[in-house]
Amino acid sequence: MASSKVSRVGEEVWKSRIDKINAEVVTLTYGTIVAQLCRDLIVPNTASKTDYTAVNAELDRMGYNMGLRLIEDFLAKSNTGQCTNFRETAEIISKVGFKVFMNITPTVTNWSQDAKSFHLVFEENPLADFVELPDDGRAQEELWYSNILCGVIRGALEMVQMQAEAHFVSDVLRGNDTTEMRVTLVRFIEDEMPPDDE
């Protein structure tokens, strides 16, 4: 599909078929979840030293479980068929996926030579509005605040036969210039065969 057509599909679906919710509700709910995780997941044998690696992992896991279901809703609403290649997949993720669920279109850039990985650059990120990372000297280095998005992409792609890996490489919350995520295609998942029936 041509790039402009993809944007039109995203626009169309977002306008006509999506129930909207107040963005602040989302932002604040998500913020509460992350804050609670930071309180709950503590490095063993310390009083209140947050284990940010565990928080990242937990956010990713939550996102993964969301992605597994979200893809079905996405396909039903957007009516996009199978992608012919990974470039098209990237376009759809950015211009339809993020558009219909979050009303943003992150830019797809920085393709690797073998066309198996790309960067998503988030000019805006509704999850991170009003957010300041805790000032404990470690959160800035270790916490990926919006890590749930990585999980969503991973889960959603898995359901359409693509094993992928996604992680953030920079975040404005950490003081970087941009918020960027790297998505890498690991492999296409083969069709499963029915078990042998003797």
Partner: protein, 165 residues
């Protein structure tokens, strides 16, 4: 027009939902056996199979057909339905490899949109979005909930008016 049965298979090739409707008499009429000169078992004998075996047979059939169609017509080709003397099988597959199958009588037209609608408006809404249902449905756990069953029942009833007329 009447509908005989409906199946959903997940991406692990497992049958996660089955529904059968009362079989119209026309299908159950005695099959004339005189045409079978080569001593084949008459078709009626097949009725000994249970629902589970039926599902397996159906999956085997569509699995092979799907392959064959792709080999002949290219990667993007799909088969939509096939017809025998007794029934017609309609097939619809989502990009997530859920397979929706419906068996109806032979006079029924294209049911692809109907299967698509069952997926988009019933399965996605009532099964996928149900917070209590597991994400995968081994042995069909969580699929046959009340909303989905009720929705399917009335949707089918609206397409196939009651056979008692």
């Amino acid at each position: 027009m009447s509908v005989y049965s409906f199946y959903i298979f997940d991406r692990h090739t497992e049958c996660i939902y089955t529904k059968r409707w009362a079989i119209a008499q026309s299908l159950r009429r005695t099959v004339p056996t005189n045409a079978l000169s080569n001593g084949d078992v008459p078709a009626v004998a097949r009725r000994g199979l249970n629902a589970e075996d039926d599902a397996k047979l159906i999956f085997g059939t569509i699995f092979s057909l799907r392959r064959m169609v792709r080999q002949l017509g290219g990667e993007d080709d799909h088969f939509l339905s096939y017809r025998t003397g007794e029934y017609k099988l309609h097939y619809f597959e989502t990009p997530t490899q859920l397979k929706f199958i419906m068996l109806t009588d032979t006079r029924v037209g294209n049911m692809r949109t109907v299967l698509h609608q069952i997926w988009a408006t019933l399965y996605v809404e009532y099964v996928v979005k149900s917070p209590l249902a597991p994400t995968e449905h081994p042995k069909g756990v969580g699929v046959a909930n009340e909303l989905f069953e009720g929705g399917l029942e009335s949707f089918i009833a609206s397409i196939f008016p009651s056979p008692t007329q």
